[in-house]
Subunit: 124 residues, 2 copies
DNA sequence: TCTTATCGTCTACAGACGTAAACGATGAGG
DNA sequence: CCTCATCGTTTACGTCTGTAGACGATAAGA
Protein backbone atom coordinates (compact mmCIF):
# COMPACT_ATOMS: atom_id res chain seq x y z
CA UNK A 1 0.00 0.00 0.00
CA UNK A 2 1.34 3.35 -1.13
CA UNK A 3 4.62 1.57 -1.50
CA UNK A 4 6.25 3.41 -4.36
CA UNK A 5 9.16 5.68 -3.63
CA UNK A 6 8.67 9.43 -3.79
CA UNK A 7 11.19 11.54 -5.66
CA UNK A 8 12.51 14.87 -4.49
CA UNK A 9 10.41 16.88 -6.92
CA UNK A 10 7.35 14.85 -6.06
CA UNK A 11 7.86 15.43 -2.37
CA UNK A 12 7.83 19.17 -3.02
CA UNK A 13 4.35 18.80 -4.47
CA UNK A 14 3.21 16.65 -1.57
CA UNK A 15 4.55 19.24 0.83
CA UNK A 16 2.27 21.86 -0.66
CA UNK A 17 -0.70 19.57 -0.16
CA UNK A 18 0.33 18.78 3.39
CA UNK A 19 0.76 22.44 4.21
CA UNK A 20 -2.25 23.91 2.46
CA UNK A 21 -4.63 20.97 2.40
CA UNK A 22 -6.61 19.85 -0.66
CA UNK A 23 -5.99 22.03 -3.68
CA UNK A 24 -6.37 22.22 -7.43
CA UNK A 25 -3.40 21.91 -9.75
CA UNK A 26 -3.50 25.64 -10.26
CA UNK A 27 -3.05 26.37 -6.56
CA UNK A 28 -0.25 23.88 -6.21
CA UNK A 29 1.43 25.49 -9.18
CA UNK A 30 1.08 28.93 -7.62
CA UNK A 31 3.03 27.78 -4.59
CA UNK A 32 5.71 25.95 -6.55
CA UNK A 33 6.13 28.58 -9.23
CA UNK A 34 7.22 30.86 -6.44
CA UNK A 35 9.48 28.49 -4.52
CA UNK A 36 10.96 26.45 -7.35
CA UNK A 37 10.15 28.31 -10.53
CA UNK A 38 8.15 25.47 -12.04
CA UNK A 39 5.69 25.72 -14.91
CA UNK A 40 2.13 24.49 -14.56
CA UNK A 41 3.04 21.62 -16.91
CA UNK A 42 5.70 20.41 -14.55
CA UNK A 43 3.39 20.39 -11.57
CA UNK A 44 0.73 18.54 -13.56
CA UNK A 45 3.22 15.86 -14.52
CA UNK A 46 4.27 15.45 -10.90
CA UNK A 47 0.67 15.28 -9.70
CA UNK A 48 0.01 12.61 -12.31
CA UNK A 49 2.96 10.57 -11.17
CA UNK A 50 1.93 10.90 -7.53
CA UNK A 51 -1.57 9.78 -8.48
CA UNK A 52 -0.21 6.74 -10.25
CA UNK A 53 1.92 5.95 -7.22
CA UNK A 54 -1.09 6.24 -4.95
CA UNK A 55 0.51 8.98 -2.87
CA UNK A 56 -2.15 11.50 -3.83
CA UNK A 57 -5.92 11.27 -4.21
CA UNK A 58 -8.09 13.31 -6.60
CA UNK A 59 -11.72 14.22 -6.08
CA UNK A 60 -13.48 15.75 -9.07
CA UNK A 61 -14.90 19.20 -8.49
CA UNK A 62 -16.77 20.24 -11.60
CA UNK A 63 -14.32 20.54 -14.45
CA UNK A 64 -11.23 20.20 -12.37
CA UNK A 65 -9.70 17.94 -9.75
CA UNK A 66 -9.00 18.66 -6.15
CA UNK A 67 -5.90 16.82 -5.00
CA UNK A 68 -5.16 15.71 -1.48
CA UNK A 69 -2.38 13.65 0.09
CA UNK A 70 -3.02 9.93 0.38
CA UNK A 71 0.34 9.43 2.03
CA UNK A 72 0.67 10.95 5.50
CA UNK A 73 3.55 13.28 6.10
CA UNK A 74 4.60 11.34 9.20
CA UNK A 75 4.64 8.13 7.19
CA UNK A 76 6.84 9.76 4.58
CA UNK A 77 9.14 11.22 7.24
CA UNK A 78 9.51 7.76 8.70
CA UNK A 79 10.34 6.15 5.41
CA UNK A 80 12.92 8.70 4.42
CA UNK A 81 14.51 8.92 7.83
CA UNK A 82 14.65 5.21 8.44
CA UNK A 83 16.10 4.65 5.01
CA UNK A 84 18.95 7.03 5.75
CA UNK A 85 19.47 5.68 9.25
CA UNK A 86 19.67 2.17 7.86
CA UNK A 87 22.01 3.05 5.05
CA UNK A 88 24.38 5.15 7.12
CA UNK A 89 24.03 4.45 10.81
CA UNK A 90 23.09 0.83 11.24
CA UNK A 91 19.47 1.80 11.66
CA UNK A 92 19.96 3.59 14.96
CA UNK A 93 19.51 7.20 15.97
CA UNK A 94 22.29 7.64 18.50
CA UNK A 95 25.14 7.28 15.99
CA UNK A 96 23.66 10.03 13.87
CA UNK A 97 23.45 12.36 16.82
CA UNK A 98 26.99 11.38 17.73
CA UNK A 99 28.11 12.31 14.24
CA UNK A 100 26.61 15.76 14.49
CA UNK A 101 28.02 16.14 17.95
CA UNK A 102 31.53 15.26 16.74
CA UNK A 103 31.26 17.95 14.13
CA UNK A 104 29.74 20.52 16.51
CA UNK A 105 26.64 20.76 14.41
CA UNK A 106 24.29 20.75 17.37
CA UNK A 107 22.92 24.18 18.12
CA UNK A 108 22.24 25.37 21.65
CA UNK A 109 18.61 24.93 20.81
CA UNK A 110 19.15 21.39 19.60
CA UNK A 111 20.96 20.51 22.80
CA UNK A 112 18.25 22.06 24.92
CA UNK A 113 15.52 20.19 23.08
CA UNK A 114 17.42 16.94 23.10
CA UNK A 115 17.90 17.22 26.84
CA UNK A 116 14.20 17.70 27.37
CA UNK A 117 13.34 14.89 24.97
CA UNK A 118 15.48 12.23 26.52
CA UNK A 119 14.59 13.53 29.95
CA UNK A 120 10.97 12.69 29.23
CA UNK A 121 11.94 9.32 27.92
CA UNK A 122 14.13 7.98 30.67
CA UNK A 123 11.28 7.05 32.96
CA UNK A 124 8.99 5.16 30.62
CA UNK B 1 36.41 19.65 -4.72
CA UNK B 2 34.94 16.16 -4.75
CA UNK B 3 31.65 17.89 -5.23
CA UNK B 4 29.71 15.38 -7.31
CA UNK B 5 26.91 13.48 -5.67
CA UNK B 6 27.39 9.80 -4.89
CA UNK B 7 24.70 7.32 -5.82
CA UNK B 8 23.54 4.45 -3.64
CA UNK B 9 25.39 1.81 -5.64
CA UNK B 10 28.50 3.95 -5.71
CA UNK B 11 28.41 4.39 -1.96
CA UNK B 12 28.40 0.61 -1.56
CA UNK B 13 31.70 0.52 -3.43
CA UNK B 14 33.12 3.34 -1.36
CA UNK B 15 32.07 1.52 1.78
CA UNK B 16 34.20 -1.46 0.82
CA UNK B 17 37.19 0.81 0.36
CA UNK B 18 36.53 2.54 3.65
CA UNK B 19 36.21 -0.76 5.47
CA UNK B 20 39.04 -2.70 3.88
CA UNK B 21 41.37 0.05 2.78
CA UNK B 22 43.02 0.27 -0.66
CA UNK B 23 42.08 -2.64 -2.88
CA UNK B 24 42.06 -3.84 -6.47
CA UNK B 25 38.84 -4.10 -8.45
CA UNK B 26 38.91 -7.82 -7.94
CA UNK B 27 38.87 -7.53 -4.16
CA UNK B 28 36.12 -4.96 -4.20
CA UNK B 29 34.14 -7.27 -6.42
CA UNK B 30 34.68 -10.17 -4.06
CA UNK B 31 33.07 -8.21 -1.24
CA UNK B 32 30.17 -6.92 -3.32
CA UNK B 33 29.48 -10.16 -5.13
CA UNK B 34 28.74 -11.59 -1.73
CA UNK B 35 26.68 -8.74 -0.30
CA UNK B 36 24.88 -7.52 -3.40
CA UNK B 37 25.38 -10.18 -6.02
CA UNK B 38 27.16 -7.88 -8.44
CA UNK B 39 29.28 -8.94 -11.39
CA UNK B 40 32.84 -7.73 -11.78
CA UNK B 41 31.66 -5.57 -14.69
CA UNK B 42 29.26 -3.72 -12.48
CA UNK B 43 31.88 -2.97 -9.90
CA UNK B 44 34.29 -1.77 -12.56
CA UNK B 45 31.69 0.60 -13.95
CA UNK B 46 31.04 1.98 -10.50
CA UNK B 47 34.75 2.39 -9.76
CA UNK B 48 35.10 4.25 -13.05
CA UNK B 49 32.28 6.60 -12.22
CA UNK B 50 33.71 7.25 -8.76
CA UNK B 51 37.09 7.96 -10.34
CA UNK B 52 35.53 10.45 -12.72
CA UNK B 53 33.74 12.09 -9.81
CA UNK B 54 36.97 12.34 -7.87
CA UNK B 55 35.63 10.31 -4.96
CA UNK B 56 38.17 7.56 -5.50
CA UNK B 57 41.88 7.58 -6.32
CA UNK B 58 43.79 4.93 -8.29
CA UNK B 59 47.47 4.11 -7.92
CA UNK B 60 48.89 1.81 -10.55
CA UNK B 61 50.40 -1.40 -9.22
CA UNK B 62 51.90 -3.29 -12.13
CA UNK B 63 49.16 -4.28 -14.51
CA UNK B 64 46.31 -3.33 -12.28
CA UNK B 65 45.06 -0.42 -10.21
CA UNK B 66 44.77 -0.12 -6.47
CA UNK B 67 41.81 2.02 -5.56
CA UNK B 68 41.45 4.07 -2.42
CA UNK B 69 38.84 6.54 -1.19
CA UNK B 70 39.48 10.18 -1.98
CA UNK B 71 36.33 11.19 -0.18
CA UNK B 72 36.39 10.67 3.58
CA UNK B 73 33.62 8.66 5.08
CA UNK B 74 32.89 11.35 7.64
CA UNK B 75 32.61 13.90 4.87
CA UNK B 76 30.16 11.70 3.04
CA UNK B 77 28.17 11.04 6.22
CA UNK B 78 27.93 14.77 6.75
CA UNK B 79 26.73 15.46 3.26
CA UNK B 80 24.07 12.80 3.26
CA UNK B 81 22.88 13.50 6.77
CA UNK B 82 22.75 17.25 6.40
CA UNK B 83 20.95 16.91 3.12
CA UNK B 84 18.23 14.85 4.76
CA UNK B 85 18.07 17.06 7.82
CA UNK B 86 17.67 20.10 5.60
CA UNK B 87 15.05 18.57 3.38
CA UNK B 88 12.94 17.11 6.16
CA UNK B 89 13.67 18.73 9.48
CA UNK B 90 14.61 22.32 8.88
CA UNK B 91 18.27 21.42 9.14
CA UNK B 92 18.16 20.56 12.81
CA UNK B 93 18.79 17.33 14.68
CA UNK B 94 16.29 17.59 17.53
CA UNK B 95 13.18 17.33 15.33
CA UNK B 96 14.46 14.11 13.83
CA UNK B 97 15.04 12.61 17.25
CA UNK B 98 11.59 13.85 18.26
CA UNK B 99 10.11 12.08 15.28
CA UNK B 100 11.69 8.78 16.24
CA UNK B 101 10.68 9.31 19.81
CA UNK B 102 7.04 9.91 18.79
CA UNK B 103 7.07 6.62 16.95
CA UNK B 104 8.86 4.71 19.71
CA UNK B 105 11.72 3.93 17.43
CA UNK B 106 14.37 4.66 20.02
CA UNK B 107 15.87 1.51 21.45
CA UNK B 108 16.96 1.24 25.07
CA UNK B 109 20.47 1.38 23.77
CA UNK B 110 19.74 4.52 21.77
CA UNK B 111 18.30 6.21 24.80
CA UNK B 112 21.23 5.20 26.95
CA UNK B 113 23.72 6.51 24.39
CA UNK B 114 21.79 9.69 23.80
CA UNK B 115 21.75 10.37 27.54
CA UNK B 116 25.48 9.98 27.72
CA UNK B 117 26.01 12.08 24.63
CA UNK B 118 24.03 15.08 25.69
CA UNK B 119 25.30 14.66 29.19
CA UNK B 120 28.81 15.24 27.92
CA UNK B 121 27.65 18.19 25.91
CA UNK B 122 25.79 20.18 28.48
CA UNK B 123 28.87 21.57 30.16
CA UNK B 124 30.91 22.70 27.17
C1' DT C 1 58.09 -14.15 -30.33
C1' DC C 2 53.24 -15.87 -30.34
C1' DT C 3 49.30 -16.78 -27.66
C1' DT C 4 46.34 -16.18 -24.01
C1' DA C 5 44.66 -14.61 -19.68
C1' DT C 6 43.69 -10.39 -17.45
C1' DC C 7 42.73 -5.53 -16.77
C1' DG C 8 40.53 -1.39 -17.64
C1' DT C 9 37.45 1.23 -20.87
C1' DC C 10 33.56 1.70 -24.01
C1' DT C 11 29.10 0.68 -25.20
C1' DA C 12 24.39 -0.69 -23.94
C1' DC C 13 20.00 -0.31 -22.25
C1' DA C 14 15.85 0.00 -19.55
C1' DG C 15 13.75 2.66 -15.95
C1' DA C 16 13.54 6.86 -12.94
C1' DC C 17 13.79 11.88 -12.76
C1' DG C 18 13.34 16.83 -13.80
C1' DT C 19 11.21 19.77 -16.85
C1' DA C 20 7.95 21.08 -20.09
C1' DA C 21 5.44 21.52 -24.61
C1' DA C 22 1.69 19.47 -27.49
C1' DC C 23 -2.74 17.58 -27.69
C1' DG C 24 -7.44 16.43 -26.93
C1' DA C 25 -11.82 16.68 -24.36
C1' DT C 26 -15.25 19.48 -22.54
C1' DG C 27 -17.76 23.00 -20.26
C1' DA C 28 -19.11 27.92 -20.52
C1' DG C 29 -20.26 31.97 -22.82
C1' DG C 30 -22.05 34.11 -26.91
C1' DC D 1 -25.22 25.40 -31.43
C1' DC D 2 -20.47 26.95 -32.13
C1' DT D 3 -16.06 28.64 -30.42
C1' DC D 4 -12.68 29.33 -27.18
C1' DA D 5 -10.63 28.88 -22.83
C1' DT D 6 -9.33 25.48 -19.53
C1' DC D 7 -8.18 21.00 -17.64
C1' DG D 8 -6.04 16.75 -17.56
C1' DT D 9 -3.30 13.37 -20.40
C1' DT D 10 0.37 12.12 -23.70
C1' DT D 11 4.52 12.67 -25.53
C1' DA D 12 9.29 14.37 -25.25
C1' DC D 13 13.89 14.41 -24.04
C1' DG D 14 18.36 14.81 -21.79
C1' DT D 15 20.57 12.99 -17.64
C1' DC D 16 21.40 9.76 -13.96
C1' DT D 17 21.26 5.05 -12.15
C1' DG D 18 21.75 0.15 -11.89
C1' DT D 19 23.56 -3.65 -14.20
C1' DA D 20 26.46 -5.82 -17.34
C1' DG D 21 28.48 -7.52 -21.83
C1' DA D 22 31.92 -6.35 -25.60
C1' DC D 23 36.31 -4.75 -26.79
C1' DG D 24 41.04 -3.56 -26.85
C1' DA D 25 45.67 -3.29 -24.73
C1' DT D 26 49.22 -5.67 -22.65
C1' DA D 27 51.89 -8.47 -19.56
C1' DA D 28 53.24 -13.14 -18.74
C1' DG D 29 54.00 -17.65 -19.94
C1' DA D 30 55.10 -21.07 -23.58
Amino acid sequence: MTGESISEAESAVLTVLWDHGPAAAEDVTAALAASRGWQESTVKTLLGRLLRKGAVRARKDGRRFIYSPALAREEWLSRESESLLNRLYGGRVAPLVAHFSRHRKLSKRDIRELKRLIGELEDD
